[in-house]
Amino acid sequence: NEREVEFNGHIAEGNFVEPADWMPERYRKTLIRQMSQHAHSEVVGMLPEGNWILRAPTLKRKAILIAKVQDEAGHGLYLYSATETLGVDRENLYEDLLAGRAKYSSIFNYPTLNWADVGVIGWLVDGAAIMNQVPLTRCSYGPYARAMVRICKEESFHQRQGFDLLLQMMQGTHEQKEMVQDAVNRWWWPSLMMFGPEDKDSVHSDESKAWGIKRISNDELRQSFVDATVPQAELLGITLPDPDLKWDENTGHYRFGKIDWDEFWRVVSGDGLCNRDRIATKKAAWREGAWVREAAQAYARNLSNNGGKHER
């Protein structure tokens, strides 16, 4: 296929693909899947952190957390909009999520159980997300790449705030330090799983690489994350829950223990502690908001029928 060859050449030269450009159907499908999944993750990700807004321990932290959850809604919105440039409809995408036909990041199927979880999500989860997403700022699809630039900037900000929260707590009482350690114990391994299966078990990757959608492999990203995070953990004064974690002089990387891929697949396939609750919460909200959305649509219709004036 000549067009496809040309398309691949265009990408290989480092050019962006824009919505009006011709693209192979599989490229489009792959992007829709990945981008909408990313959008869903932002939207579901509001719940575990939202769970602590009402209990934030200071007004400043409450403000930071509300702003963060708001940013996530914003990211969801850009990403849905960017996905819509590929000729799909946001509402349909969202209904795929609610019906269990679309995935979101499995990390949000773990519960937030103490206040330090909010910090650890910023530090580790957002940290891993950034590691995954920075390469996407050079992704071949223009709207996605541009959304990623903005999102990565905000995510770094969130990561620093999370780290700062933990740093504060580590200077606090004995109980607070225990909270931080407890949160790290629970989130460390799931964060490593955020990079997806090991390269040997990973599907989609080759084609995505060729298209510039996926530039760095899961295992490479995971290794970079570990290398970047271990010194931060030392700075914090917490212990990462991996007895096999150690510096390897030869490779210049940290070696780490075996990931429990059974757990990964169990959570991905719907049996994580919060999968049911997350979707149930979003479904209930969507159902209970239906009459509001209908009213807004009806109002907009009436308004345009009446030339911009509502009846009195």
Binding site: V43, M46, L47, G50, I53, L54, R55, A56, P57, T58, L59, K60, R61, K62, A63, I66, A67, V69, Q70, A73, G74, G76, L77, Y80, W115, L165, Q168, M169, Q171, G172, T173, E175, Q176, T281, K282, A284, A285, E288, G289, A290, W291, V292, R293, E294, A295, A296, Q297, A298, Y299, N302, H310, E311, R312
Partner: protein
């Protein structure tokens, strides 16, 4: 009465007023934040968070100022997290349950339109600190009024169902409005620093809401005989539940660094 006494008396009234505003904005923000992640649309998730943040920002300024007036070395957080129900002075309307989307919009509209009139009066008053807070808050509050008022109009002119929900929401929230205008020793003693005549404010407020009520097809109702009293520390049963959740960490882990 020595000048100092009079000063400290005046401080007391001002403190009461500043706490009233600080507590009202804080609890309104806390209630709005209950919507996090479950609003009817993503846009509304963002908008509600926006308003919650603005109100929280106002609350922080106000409570910081209150702690300064109090002069006991308490922080904004001490005031927010270590007082119990009868030491909160918010208007009751901000503590009543969110109910559905219509009820939340209704109570927020009623509260923010009233708040705006207070900011207006404060901005024309002589307390510099409070004036600065008011000036910063006026634009925010304008946006809040527009946002919630816009929803009232949309719901009132949307579907039959939404119009009914809106009417029910008003039946539930409206009685709490009378507290805005009921006799208020704290406000009446603010003069001459800040001059607020509640009879005048009531008229201004009724004028302010009237076009929106008309556009939202809401009946104009008389100010109710029902009078809630959160502003003097006599609350509904709802506030205790809000505080139990809001204050948990500070209560459970005293002396922590957050």
């Amino acid at each position: 009465m020595s000048p100092t006494d009079s000063d400290s008396d005046h401080n007391k009234e001002l403190l009461c007023f500043v706490l009233r505003l600080g507590d009202s904005t804080l609890i309104a923000s806390q209630r709005l934040a209950e919507w996090a992640g479950i609003a009817p649309t993503l846009e509304e998730d963002i908008a509600f968070a926006n308003v919650a943040l603005d109100l929280l920002g106002q609350a922080r300024h106000l409570l910081s100022y209150a702690s300064q007036l109090e002069g006991k070395g308490q922080s904004e957080d001490d005031l927010a997290f270590l007082r119990d129900v009868n030491q909160f002075y918010n208007y009751t309307i901000v503590e009543i349950p969110n109910g559905d989307f219509a009820q939340t919009c209704a109570k927020m509209y009623l509260f923010t339109t009233f708040l705006m009139l207070l900011w207006d009066h404060i901005a024309r008053g002589a307390d510099q600190e409070l004036k600065a807070i008011a000036q910063k808050s006026i634009n925010e509050t304008k946006y809040h009024i527009e946002h919630f008022g816009g929803w009232l109009i949309r719901l009132g002119n949307g579907t039959t169902y939404s119009a009914d929900r809106l009417k029910e929401a008003f039946e539930y929230t409206w009685p709490y409005v009378s507290e805005f205008f009921s006799p208020d020793p704290c406000i009446s003693r603010l003069a001459p620093t800040i001059e607020i005549d509640l009879a005048v404010v009531q008229n201004l407020w009724l004028e302010e809401i009237s076009p929106t009520f008309l556009a939202a097809k809401l009946p104009t109702i008389e100010i109710s005989r029902f009078i809630s009293n959160g502003k003097i520390g006599l609350h509904s049963e709802h506030l205790g539940h809000i505080l139990a959740e809001m204050q948990f960490l500070q209560r459970a882990y005293p002396g922590g660094r957050w």
